[in-house]
């Protein structure tokens, strides 16, 4: 392997309260294909943003072509030939392929008007199309291209800029199998031309297929670098996990009862060819694990009636129910605490009392007027029960901490006797103290007979809080785990779709 042209030395990035990168080292040689793997939140994206010059590290150095500097700017990265193919592609739907590849650098006719020389533009793109084996022409409107074809356009854009390193963030996450195969061939082609590639992926078989080296990140640290010879799924999973999890599990006071909610062959719009079936029992916490984008939130939204189910049925206490709006879900006793509480859970500049009463205002009305006395009394009850840290219930929720805001969202539903509570990322952005209080509340609810479906990307939480775990992978359930089978390894293996 030739000398690396790019080296990251002890790069650290600290955000308030979080160490995103902890003395990370990474080197890239000419024509090398590196797979970057790790769990959600391991620091992969931050590392790539450092390379792109978007994020400035707090410590360490970047050695580029022998020149050492503390950080890169966006322009440094472009000049050095570092190009990105983003998950959300940055292309213009209203232009054709050639226009996108040479956006801002179009060849122009002479003369004062500087009109675009379309003929020359198309001629410049032609060799790039051939090089990647594209099945569309330079004048194809971008709006007509599939996602995989758009990705090729992004790669052409990178090549037209004489990229030496192409970074792809989960390039295959929404590709079909044949499209993935073609992308793998494109990567091999780039490698043959001496272009280096770093790609982030959750699919270990892709790593096996085309990477020269896999770098595994965990909690912001490089925990291992596996060469071609050492690459096995088992070795990668072993590196990705391996923290000591504190035991925080509290068993239910009574064993879970019969099934309350049955999801039968549910199909959402995100994964039209995958169906999900699961049943949730009275008094249990069912953890729903999986990687970001595995379809968990979409499933929750469909159960709650925010989106419609394409197919499938929802049964409550054994009887099929029709849920077309959140209102109908609420009337059936199914409540959702959304992932993004600021966007979907709260009215930020409104008091705690008014937020808490919002879903159930009809129970504090007299002649259609709000009975503020009853509203306040109920809010005070929840305020004390959940130990919300605020001077009084007239406090606006925007001024509360994340944990206390989350408790306010919980309080909205607790006064209404939930049957099923779907909790999407219960402790995201919540401080440690409030986190354990929330776990405690969940257990008290299940002991009172509530069934809880807890979506979580936090491994410690899934394993430490759930009575049972369902793991989703690309829109389908890849497996259920009972407490005796709980291990980070088992969850992760199902989450990446590696079943053996």
């Amino acid at each position: 392997m030739p000398e690396p042209f790019l080296e990251l030395v002890d790069i650290s990035k600290i955000y308030p309260g979080v160490v995103a990168l902890d003395r990370v080292g990474l080197s890239v040689s000419r024509g090398e294909v590196i797979a970057l793997v790790g769990e959600n939140g391991a620091g992969k994206s931050t590392l790539m943003r450092v390379l792109g010059g978007v994020v400035e590290p707090n410590g360490g150095a970047i050695r580029l072509d022998g020149v050492e500097r503390p950080s890169l700017t966006v322009n440094d990265a472009i000049e050095a030939g570092i190009a990105f193919v983003h998950q959300e592609l940055n292309l213009f739907d209203n232009l054709d392929v050639a226009g996108n590849v040479y956006i801002g650098r179009e060849p122009v006719h002479g003369g004062p008007l500087k009109l675009i020389d379309r003929k020359r533009l198309h001629a410049q793109v032609r060799p790039l199309l051939d090089r990647l084996g594209a099945d569309f022409g330079p004048d194809a409107p971008l709006a007509d291209l599939s996602l995989a074809q758009r990705q090729l356009v992004e790669i052409m854009k990178a090549l037209s800029l004489d990229a030496r390193l192409v970074i792809m963030d989960e390039p295959t996450s929404s590709l079909t199998l044949t499209e993935t195969e073609r992308l793998m061939r494109v990567i091999a082609g780039l490698k043959a031309d001496g272009v280096s590639v770093i790609f982030i992926t959750h699919r270990l078989n892709e790593v096996m297929q085309c990477a020269d080296r896999a770098v595994v990140l965990r909690d912001g640290r490089v925990v291992g670098s596996l060469s071609r010879a050492e690459l096995t799924p088992a070795a990668m999973i072993r590196l990705m996990i391996g923290r000591d999890l504190k035991s925080i599990y509290v068993p239910p006071a009574v064993p879970p009862g019969e099934a309350v909610l049955d999801i039968v062959e549910a199909v959402t719009d995100t994964y039209p060819d995958r169906a999900v079936s699961l049943s949730l029992r009275r008094g249990e916490i069912l953890g729903l694990a999986g990687l970001v984008g595995s379809g968990r939130t979409e499933l929750a939204r469909a159960i709650f009636g925010v989106d419609r189910l394409r197919q499938g049925a929802i049964q409550l206490d054994g009887r099929p129910v029709r849920i077309s709006t959140p209102r109908s879900a609420i009337e059936h006793g199914i409540y959702l605490i959304p992932e993004d509480r600021k966007r979907s859970g709260l009215l930020l500049d409104v008091s705690i009392a008014e937020n808490v009463s919002l879903p159930d205002l009809m129970s504090c009305q007299r002649f259609w007027l709000v009975d503020t006395a009853r509203e306040t009394a109920n809010a005070i009850r929840q305020h004390e029960r959940l130990k919300i840290r605020a001077p009084d219930v007239a406090t606006s929720v925007g001024s509360l901490s994340g944990g206390n805001q989350q408790k306010v969202v919980l309080a909205k539903w607790l006064s209404m006797r939930p049957k099923v509570l779907i909790f999407d990322e219960p402790t995201r952005g919540v401080d440690v103290g409030a986190k354990y209080e929330i776990y405690d509340i969940l257990r008290r609810l299940t002991d009172a007979g509530v069934a809880i479906l807890m979506i979580s990307s936090d491994m410690e939480e899934v394993i430490g809080v759930s009575d049972r775990i369902a793991v989703m992978h690309e829109g389908a359930i890849s497996g259920f785990l009972d407490r005796s089978e709980f291990s980070e390894q088992n969850v992760l293996r199902l989450a990446v779709g590696h079943s053996t």
Partner: protein, 341 residues
């Protein structure tokens, strides 16, 4: 009364006192009664507009609707001999229907309210002109509707002040709107949808239905003011009648604390905003300012008001932020020390 409303009231009193000092004719009973009549007429459709602005929408067709429904009303009772009570009911129903259509286009078809109501502005204006063949609709010689005229354009002596009935109508509308917006469950839903439509939906509120209702209420109230204005002017040239009235309505709502982002504003504020606009109008007349400057004066005052308000809000926010920082510093200091160790 909110703090914002109070400062608006103070501003009105100050402007009024200055005008009265320069030109005492301002406080003559006749002038005050006429100004009050204008407030009554403009206040009702400003409240109508406020309902839509509070849910985060906008209604630009108010002026055109006033022209269209106005010519229809006069034509019905003058030329077609429709009983005025029936005509009244038909026109109100027409206003509600227009609101329903706008609301449906915004919520079902997901067209931006600005676009929907801008098209409404053009369509209803054209329809009004076509309806009268661009002629003037008005009462002929000897047409007389004593009870209707008394009810809509009459004045009743209250303690020596001839109180216009448009003001009585505004007072009734204000009280009802205030109860609905500030005290009822439905009012809570209106504000919730305006503040955060997604959170409202996740709380089980039928956000679309709430939005449509706001447009329907706006249409109905606009129709009511269309009748009052038609009876006051007694003749309508459909090309100009009511033009720019939507802008008076938006201006009054903004002065009254409504945010065009939705979720804010009070009914008292909107009424006070209308009062301020009419006092300014009156000021231009009484102080001998060329009437061509009418709009310029109004625009300048609104701009100054909004800038001053924003300045105060930002200063307030900086103060709270500084206080918050001080608090968190105290709260996290022991933690940081622990971490350092």
């Amino acid at each position: 009364m909110q703090k914002k409303d109070l400062s608006l009231l103070v501003l009105i009193l100050v402007v009024g006192a200055v005008v009265a000092f320069i030109n005492p004719r301002f406080i003559l009973v006749g002038n005050l009664s006429n100004t009050a009549n204008q407030v009554g007429l403009f206040g009702i459709f400003s409240i109508a507009e406020a309902f839509v602005i509070i849910i985060g929408g906008i209604e630009l067709s108010v002026g055109s609707v006033i022209a269209l429904l106005g010519v229809i009303f006069i034509d019905f009772i003058v030329n077609r001999n429709v009983n005025w009570m029936a005509a009244f009911a038909i026109v109100i129903a027409g206003g509600l229907l227009i609101g329903l259509i706008h609301g449906a286009l915004v919520t079902r078809m997901r067209i931006q309210p600005f676009v929907v109501t801008l098209c409404g502005l053009l369509i209803y204006r054209g329809a009004a002109r076509y309806y009268t063949e661009d002629g003037t609709a008005g009462f002929g010689f000897g047409d007389s509707f004593p009870s209707l005229e008394w009810l809509t354009a009459g004045r009743t002596n209250v303690l020596g002040f001839p109180l216009p009935h448009s003001v009585v109508a505004l007072i009734i509308v204000t009280v009802v709107a205030w109860v609905v917006l500030h005290r009822s469950v439905f009012g809570r839903y209106l504000y919730a949808v305006g503040k955060n439509e997604e959170a409202a939906r996740y709380s089980g509120i039928h956000a679309d239905r709430v939005s449509v209702s706001a447009y329907v209420i706006c249409g109905g109230l606009t129709a009511l003011s269309a009748i009052l204005i038609a009876m006051y002017t007694r003749s309508i040239s459909p090309a100009v009648h009511g033009s720019f009235y939507e802008l008076y309505a938006i201006a009054a709502a903004v002065l009254g604390g409504c945010s065009l982002r939705g979720g804010e504003g009070s009914i008292i504020g909107v009424v006070l905003g209308t009062v301020l606009l009419q006092v300014l109008q009156n000021l231009v007349n009484l102080l001998g300012i060329p009437s061509s400057l009418n709009f310029a004066v109004m625009g300048a005052v609104i701009l100054i008001g909004v800038v001053a308000d924003q300045y105060l809000v930002q200063r307030g926010r900086r103060a709270t932020a500084a206080k918050g920082r001080a608090q968190t510093n105290v709260a996290t200091a022991p933690l940081e020390r622990a971490n350092a160790e």
